[in-house]
Subunit: 332 residues, 2 copies
Amino acid sequence: MPGELMAAEIAEQPGVLARLLDLGAAPAADARAAIVRAAPRFVVLAARGTSDHAALYAKYLTEVHLQLPAGLASPSAFTVYGARPDMRDVLFLAVSQSGGSPDLVQSTEVARACGALTIAVTNNPGSSLAAAAAHHVPVHAGPERAVAATKTYTAELLALYLLLVGEDASALPDAAAGTLAHADAAHRAASRFALVDRLVTTARGYSYPTAREGALKLMETSYLAAQAFSGADLLHGPLAMLGPDVPVIAVTTPGRGSAALAPVLERLAAADVDVLRVGPPDGLPVESAGVPEPLAPILEILPLQQLAWRLAIDRGGDPDRPRGLSKVTETW
Amino acid sequence: MPGELMAAEIAEQPGVLARLLDLGAAPAADARAAIVRAAPRFVVLAARGTSDHAALYAKYLTEVHLQLPAGLASPSAFTVYGARPDMRDVLFLAVSQSGGSPDLVQSTEVARACGALTIAVTNNPGSSLAAAAAHHVPVHAGPERAVAATKTYTAELLALYLLLVGEDASALPDAAAGTLAHADAAHRAASRFALVDRLVTTARGYSYPTAREGALKLMETSYLAAQAFSGADLLHGPLAMLGPDVPVIAVTTPGRGSAALAPVLERLAAADVDVLRVGPPDGLPVESAGVPEPLAPILEILPLQQLAWRLAIDRGGDPDRPRGLSKVTETW
C-alpha cells in the first residue's frame, strides 16, 4: 500500500519516545556530565536535512536553557575551504539519523582535532559519526525504512532535550499518542491543500524548527514548494509572495514563541491570507497540556507528518517513494 | 516607469563600491583594530531579510579567513525568551540597512551588556542600531528608495570584507561595471522563466549567500516561490520537488565552492533538470577574473538582480512596488 512505511513509523512514535526515555536517559546523562566538566562557552551544531531542524531545536535549548551562544556549522568551511579554527571551549554537536554523511564525519573529526568537545546524536551506534565523536548519544528509534524521516526526528529532539536539559519528559509518550489520535483533523485539512502548489510555514522560537521540518515533509512527499520563515523574517520580503493561492501554516502551540507570532498573524489576517494553525485556537489539535514549551516541538510536528502523508496519497503519490531521493544521502 | 528606482540602484553599484572603498576603509580598519584588541574566540551574527544573507557571507569570512567558529543569532532567544548568555570573548556583529529593526537593536544591547564586543554595519550612522553597538561601520550606499534592496546588499558585503579581512578590493568597481554591462544576458534569461511559478537556487561555500539573496529578490519582485538550498542540503529531500517545471539557478563562479557543487550539478543533469548557471561555462557572465573567491559574491549577485528586475517587468509587475511590503520592517 502506498505510504504504509511512513504511516507505520508515524504511529510508532509514542513507543519510540517511551523507549528512549527508558534506555536513553543514562547515555544522555553521561554525555551531559562531560559537558559540565568541559564547561564549553560556545556551541556549534552540525547536521543536514531533517536533522538540521533537530540541530536548530538544540540551538534554542542552548541559547535559552544553557545560556550559551550557539551557531549552526557550515560544514563546507571545514571540508571545502579547509578551515581549522580554534575550537577549545567549544561543544561541537553533530546530529544525524544514519551517522553516515561524510561531510559531518569529517567536520566532527576536524572539530575534535581543533580542541572541541564532540558529541554525536545518531540512530546508529555503529556509524562512522558515532565513532568520530568523543561521546555518542543514541536515539533508539529502530530502523527507519521510510524515506521521509518521522520517528527519528522526534527521537532526535527528545535525545537532545535529555542531553542538554535532562528534566522530566515522562508526559511525552501519552501526549504524543493523544495528539496522533486526532489524525482525522490532519487528514481533513489535507483537502484544503489538494490544489495548492505553494505554501508557507511560519512560527517563532522553539516552534520555528517545526515550521522548517513541516515544510520539508511537504516538499519531500507532495513536491509542494513549501517554504518556512520565522515570523520575523516573513515580514521582510517573503510577505510579497503570499496571496489567495499561497496559504500559510502557522505553528501556535501555547508559549512565548506563539505569543510573539501573534502580530504576524494579524498582518496575515489583514491581507486575507488563508492560515491553517497547528495548535489553538481552531488549529490542528496538539495535546500539549502539562508539557513545557521546550518539549512542545516533539508533539506539534506530528499533525504535520500526518498532513504531509495524507496530502501525498490524495494527490496520487506514494510518500514512501519520493522521486529522486534515497535514504542515505552522501555529501562531501 | 515601473522598476525605475530598482534599475537606478542596480546601476549605481559600481559607484557605491568605489565610494565605500574610499570612505569606508578607515572606519572599517578602526573597528578591525578593536577586534584584534578584544581577540574574540567566537562570532555571533545578527540580521534580518537581505542583511541576513550579508551576515551569512560574514560567517564564511569568519570561519575561513579569521578561523573562528561563528553562528547566526536567533534574536528571539534574547527578545522573546529573555536569554542573557555569557558573551565575553564574543564578537557580536549586527548587519542592517536601516539600523531600525527593534529586535536587532535589543539583541545588540543585550549582547553588549552580556560582555560581547558589538559592531553594527548599517547604512544609517544616525540609527538606533549604530548607537547601540560599541562600533559602527557605515556602508555609504546613500538613500535606498527601492523596496528590493540591491546596492545596500553589495555595500554590506564589501563593508564586511573591509572589516573582517581588510585586503585589497580595488578591482571591484570596474569588475562590477563590467558584469552589469552584460544586462542583455540576464534579461534574455528572464524569458526562460516567464511561465515558471517555482524555482530553486543553489550554490556552496561563499556563493551560498548569493543563492539565498537571489531567491529572495525573485520572491520579492516576481512573487516566485524561489527556494535556496546549499548544494549539500539539496540532495537531502528537496531534490524530490525538482522536475521539468521547477528549474534551478546554480551559482558557479570559479572557486572551491563551485568545484564542490560539481557533483550536485551532475545529479541535476542526470535528472534532466533545467539549470541556469551564474558564471562559467555558459552561464550569466560574471567578470570575476583577478577577483579572489571571497569577493566574488559582490559580483555574482548583480546578474540575479537584473534577472529579478526584468522578470517582474515581463510579468506585468512593478519591482518598485511589491505587494504587502514596506521599506522598514519592524520586528520585535
